[in-house]
């Protein structure tokens, strides 16, 4: 089994940090690409950031504390790379255009409520299975990923910057040149949409196969 240790200029002694199993790292690649594609919506860009993240992980192998999950450690590096990518990206895609594209979808959100502002009976939130069980069930994550993939592009970008990457809303506004009001509306509708999607795919009936 090939083990990777970081080669620092000082050529650290063996055992300075737990070594990373190259195959374990390679096995994470698909999950990393999937995660990056969800946010960047661009396969080539996603593969680039994953490549950078894997390189960075190899360079920094010595800082990997063996106790933490390798995947969690690598994902933290990946998230940083995506953050850098989003901050540096030449903003060729106008968010305002994307937001308009997403607007038809807003009608769907409005349908959830009656004129007086109460839930329409058919859209009332149903009881969900126990969250603890959900988060350790593979079926839940299949539905979860599918639902994220189905978010409209502008909505997905804003929502994932906030929830996956921990951007504050002010920074999202600055980075994407949108107003705080817009940002909150987008986040809200992302959550509404994701909620109903999860519920129809997984929450309402546990036995339903997607």
């Amino acid at each position: 089994m090939r083990l990777i240790r970081s080669r620092s200029p000082s050529d650290r002694a063996e055992g300075a940090g737990p070594a990373i199993d190259a195959r374990a790292l390679a096995a994470l690649r698909d999950d990393m690409v999937r995660f990056a594609v969800l946010q960047l919506r661009n396969r080539a860009a996603a593969e680039d950031v994953v490549h950078e993240a894997i390189e960075a992980a190899i360079r920094r192998a010595d800082s990997f504390e063996g106790g933490a999950s390798l995947k969690t450690w690598v994902f933290a590096i990946l998230r940083n790379r995506i953050v850098d990518h989003l901050r540096q990206r030449d903003r060729t895609v106008s968010m305002s255009v994307l937001i308009e594209d997403d607007d038809n979808w807003q009608d769907g959100v409005d349908q959830l409520f009656a004129e007086h502002g109460g839930w329409r009976p058919e859209f009332r939130p149903a009881a969900w299975p126990n969250p603890e069980q959900a988060l350790s069930s593979r079926q839940f994550w299949v539905v979860f990923e599918t639902c994220l993939e189905h978010l409209p592009e502008a909505t997905a970008r804003v929502f994932m910057m906030r929830e996956f990457l921990g951007f504050e809303t002010e920074e999202i506004c600055t980075t994407l040149s949108i107003t705080p009001g817009n940002c909150h509306v987008i986040l809200h509708r992302a959550r509404l949409k994701l909620r109903s999607c999860l519920e129809s795919g997984w929450g309402r009936t546990g036995e339903l196969e997607c």
């Binding site: 999950d31 109460g118 839930w119 969250p131 996956f164």
Partner: protein
Amino acid sequence: MLTCKEVTVLCSLELDQPLAIREKASILAHTLMCASCARFREQMTTIHRAMETYADGRGSSGTDAGMGDS
């Protein structure tokens, strides 16, 4: 009293910024009376946790189900 539609907006907002005491009180009063919105609020927390878990590489639809890595 706020409508369900308005309460869902606040339930989302509270995940992004601290709410004013008045807003918190509105949510609490409403959710005590409205089971649908109480459920909605819990589900927002579940979604938030799921996003965190996934971003941490601890949730996965892949073959290792994200749970087996050691």
